[in-house]
């Protein structure tokens, strides 16, 4: 009831199927366009972490991978927080 009253005043649902569809769509098309099989990106990420870890001590909790699309072209943005070099 509370929710319906809220919806009645705001006139829009905050969390509809629209944003879910958009997120799924983005993800799906990124994979489609690259012809990227499921799981492939994850294994690349693991290998990248392993390679960088040979040179640096990493803050693994803050390591981030982001596959972005700009004008139908994908870029993989990797962010490693480096603690100190291993040498």
């Amino acid at each position: 009831m509370q929710l319906r009253i809220f919806e009645w005043f705001s006139q829009t649902k905050q969390d509809g199927a629209r944003s879910t569809a958009k997120d799924r769509m983005r993800n799906m098309l990124t994979h489609d366009r690259l012809e990227l099989p499921a799981g492939r990106l994850e294994s690349l990420e693991e290998e990248l972490v392993a390679v960088v870890s040979r040179y640096f001590e990493l803050d693994k909790d803050t390591t981030q991978f982001d596959l972005q699309q700009y004008e139908r072209r994908a870029s993989l943005i990797a962010n490693f927080r480096l603690l100190r070099s291993k040498c």
Binding site: R4, W8, Q11, T12, K13, Q14, D15, G16, A17, R18, S19, A21, K22, R24, M25, R26, M28, L29, D32, R33, Q69, E71, R72
Partner: protein, 271 residues
């Protein structure tokens, strides 16, 4: 005269390609241009039905290509618009009956006779699609705001991009748009779809029961006044001709206080 050859395509079936072809053809012809509609959906002929011309089909596209008749003999004139003609598909053959080179030659000949040659492509991304785009320099991609249709449209856009040398421009028509569902955050919006596909917009056609009525009558809705989907198609035709026409206001106006109170107590009543 050298006309423009525009292929109308979608990837997914059932999103309104043929309806769009018929309506854009009628709208362009109403505005004074000469138009040839080419049904490339060989084996699944439908454009003649939408145009109400199914009883006038004598020869078809395959007859022309295989030289059983002259091109002019196969072209069926529209009932109302003398500057609009249909080149029907063959119903009893399959997609391999015409190849890409034959299609190119056919489009060359039609281009010399008409301002616009609109090619209605079959669904799918296989040979039928490749043949349909063979003679075209521009493309219109039709989709609805549903995920499966958008995904297939993306495949088509990828294939059109790969033909950059031939296809100079492609634009999107978003069909069966439901503004109320978008406003309720239940469906992707025009901007959502454009952002996801990174494509230029040619037009938005709202969901409209009049489309079914007009199909049953064999009179495309763009020839009728006071119908929203018809107006959307006329705007699309104007944009194709280079006019700047804003996308029509699709927003559903706030319902009155009274109707909101009614719907609050009885959610099944649609206002």
């Amino acid at each position: 005269m050298s006309g423009r050859v525009i292929v109308i395509t979608s990837g997914k079936g059932g999103v309104g390609k043929t309806t769009a072809s018929a309506n854009i053809g009628v709208a362009l012809a109403t505005s004074g241009a000469s138009v040839a509609l080419v049904d490339m959906d060989i084996g699944l002929r439908n454009l003649d039905i939408l145009m109400g011309l199914e009883n006038r089909v004598v020869y078809n596209l395959v007859d022309v290509v295989e030289e059983r008749c002259k091109l002019r003999q196969a072209l069926v004139k529209d009932k109302k618009l003398p500057n609009l003609s249909l080149l029907p598909a063959a119903q009893t053959r399959d997609k391999s009956a015409v190849d890409a080179d034959q299609m190119k030659a056919l489009c060359e000949e039609l281009k010399s006779m008409y301002d616009f040659v609109l090619v209605d492509s079959p669904a799918g991304i296989e040979q039928g699609f490749q043949n349909a785009v063979a003679g075209a320099e521009e493309a219109i991609v039709i989709t609805t705001p549903e995920m499966s249709a958008v995904r297939d449209a993306d495949r088509i856009i990828g294939l059109l991009e790969a033909r950059k040398d031939e296809i100079k421009e492609y634009r999107l028509v978003l069909n069966r748009y439901r503004p109320t569902m978008v406003q309720n955050n239940d469906m992707m919006s025009v901007d959502d779809v454009l952002e996801i596909l990174s494509v230029k917009l040619l037009g938005v056609v709202p969901e409209d029961e009049e489309i079914i009525v007009s199909t049953n009558k064999g009179e495309p809705v763009s020839g009728t006044d006071n119908v929203r989907s018809g107006l959307a198609y006329r705007n699309i035709a104007k944009r194709i001709r280079g006019e700047e026409v804003p996308i029509m206001d699709l927003e559903v106006k706030n319902p009155s206080w009274m109707s909101r109170i009614v719907s609050f107590f009885n959610p099944t009543v649609r206002v």
